[in-house]
Symmetry: C2
Subunit: 391 residues, 2 copies
């Protein structure tokens, strides 16, 4: 068990009726606010108007950066950093899902430096992140957990790069988590969000490291929550209980708490980032396609006990069965949840991906010699996993 530091000072307003606190929370950082958002769905549902009203009533100056893309791009980050400098912005207000918040994090850091914000992400440069403007967010999609973590992922379409980075300065100061703001999320995006948060937990849960049992229990609870409530939210989009459970789970799946005592070495996420970097598919969908194949690929005698614990505690598989049978049933149950219950596509060809870039993507996913993680994966391993996703 490794030593660790736990420190998540984000203040979270959870529930329906907290927007009256928005003005005061922003104001503590200064009067000039840059609001960032995506394609405009927040206007259709009336959230935009309520936010603007709250900001204005607090006597703050409001600037806007709309149009942040899913798989957010460095172009938006550059534009946001430019606006911050031009208007001497004091605080950023991200209204949206993980893409908007991720982009806002690098805008916040970019506003404090003279260089191109891509230098923070560029693997050859990795410019230090020493300061960032404070970030407040209003979450509209339960998925990435960006509302309570220190990371973000930015795409550079010119170079087919999709790169993530963590820095404590990027942690949102205040997050408004109102489950009703996710009532209008589509069935498909609800499913992709569920797959994303499930993957965040699986990336940590599947380990051969010795760690804290209490965190294993917590992760099993989070996974059971996703499996129980994602289908409810898809069938009844305005079911508050389902949306609330998914929303709070999205934050805790990745805010770092579950990681206490472990090293952080993920597998499916780096493999997926290449898929969405090359094909701009939804991140959660790419994870859903990869995860059961990765589980199958990694299964061996040494790793078997983890599959058994997962199968018994998360899916309720009969603990008296032979371990290998439990493991196979656990993988099948995961696939059944992702493809049948959530209705996500099962193969890469179904989402328009063929084997053209497998070698390049696998090489980039691995980075150096091998992806560390549950089972170390070399380029050939990643290619093999991509290939398993062809049918």
């Amino acid at each position: 068990m490794n030593d660790f530091i736990y420190h998540i000072p984000t203040k979270v307003y959870f529930g329906r009726d907290h927007l009256q606190h928005l003005g005061a929370e922003l104001k503590q950082f200064g009067p000039r606010v840059l609001m960032t958002y995506g394609g405009g769905s927040i206007k259709r549902v009336g959230l935009y108007d309520r936010v603007v009203q709250a900001v204005r009533e607090a006597g703050l100056e409001l600037y806007e950066l709309p149009g942040i893309e899913p798989n957010p791009r460095i172009g938006s980050v550059r534009e946001g950093a430019r606006l911050c400098k031009e208007h001497h912005i004091d605080v950023l207000l991200a209204v949206g899902g993980g893409s908007t918040i991720d982009a806002t994090k690098f805008i916040a850091a970019g506003a404090c430096v003279d260089h191109d914000p891509w230098d923070f992400l560029d693997l050859a440069k990795r410019a230090p992140i020493e300061r960032a403007l404070p970030i407040v967010d209003i979450l509209t999609l339960s998925a990435t957990g960006s509302e309570m973590d220190t990371g973000g992922v930015i795409s550079n379409p010119e170079t087919h790069d999709k790169i993530g980075r963590l820095a404590p300065q990027l942690l949102p100061r205040v997050s408004f988590l109102d489950p009703t703001n996710t009532f209008t999320v589509s069935r498909f995006q609800t499913a992709c969000g569920a797959a994303d948060m499930l993957s965040h937990i699986i990336e940590v849960y599947f380990t051969t490291q010795h760690d804290l049992f209490m965190l294993d229990c917590f992760m099993e609870g989070l996974m059971k929550t996703i499996i129980r409530f994602a289908p409810v939210a898809m069938a009844e989009p305005e079911n508050y209980e389902a949306r609330a459970n998914l929303m709070w789970t999205s934050s805790w799946a990745i805010n770092g708490f579950v990681n206490g005592g472990k090293t952080k070495a993920w597998s499916c996420h780096p493999m997926e980032h290449e898929l969405s970097a090359y094909y701009d598919i939804t991140h959660g969908l790419g994870l859903a396609i990869l995860t059961p194949r990765w589980m199958e690929y990694c299964l061996d005698d040494e790793r078997l006990p983890r599959y058994v614990q997962y199968g018994v505690n998360v899916f309720g598989i009969d603990a008296s069965l032979p371990p290998i049978e439990i493991a196979r049933k656990a993988i099948a149950a995961t696939a059944h949840f992702l493809y049948d219950t959530l209705g996500l596509q099962r193969t890469l060809p179904e989402v328009g991906i063929d084997d053209t870039h497998f070698a390049t993507m696998a090489r980039k996913a691995v980075g150096g010699d091998a992806l560390p993680g549950f089972k170390p994966l070399r380029q050939a391993d990643v290619e093999a996993i991509y290939r398993m996703c062809m049918a």
Copy 2:
């Protein structure tokens, strides 16, 4: 489900090798440190010397308040507040268990006002807590969770009062949680700590309110952790895994996370505070005696489903049994864990308590009309529960 605010900015250093950060963490608040501790066990085990060395190496000025009692008393708080004023203390360093940290919290607040610190607790006065000196702590006992929560409980032997209070200003800024610092905790105190943290969870878990399933899962995981590792720590005091699981569980049992979406209305704690106010028994021991009787007293048709969920998910009782049978088995399993596994005393007479003060204690426990909580309890109910603890 109620709206809630989640905000726990405490920075936690968890593990063996973090003491080298102590100096820098203290120094950020200023050079004058008041170190508070209890009866001197930290000297016997060498922790005192290591802390003093770290503080001195950081070039800080060290003052000391030793002798903080179990069930800490207002006299220590008054003395601590006086020392803070006399020496212009910048930051408090509590080294000990919940008693030391609780007392330190009210010293920190008392240092910032001119009135008697008891006025913060006195139910007739309830002086506002607007400021407090920053608190850093080094935890040596897994039990109360004071290292990561906003509350403390102080005894006033003159008035037989034992009163708790919460205030965000009292939250420790930095907590050092090193499981090896609990290796020397006795079997009895390990058991009492386990009973205390189990009670913290039960007080929240047993509810008729609608709330977050993901938090129910988390609480079940915490309870399973205590049930699994408390006996291990008692049998093998230097088992790191057991001590680590208990330590992190103690913090999360009561830091407020599990409470998200619920009102906070506890039952066994107010009943127990009267026992230890009148008889100065160990808090966790009093809770252990009360809890199974309280469970038995509250069991009715309306509340039955919670007992069933508890029995099945925490103790693995066969879900196909009749619900009332599961409930009875769950209460019996709780009693078995507390009295047989942990070896704690089962009745009030065994700890030197008779029925002399039952009426007064019950009246004070109830406060006004009735204790709210899982099942509202009037004075007669509390007296009945005390009486159930006689044999």
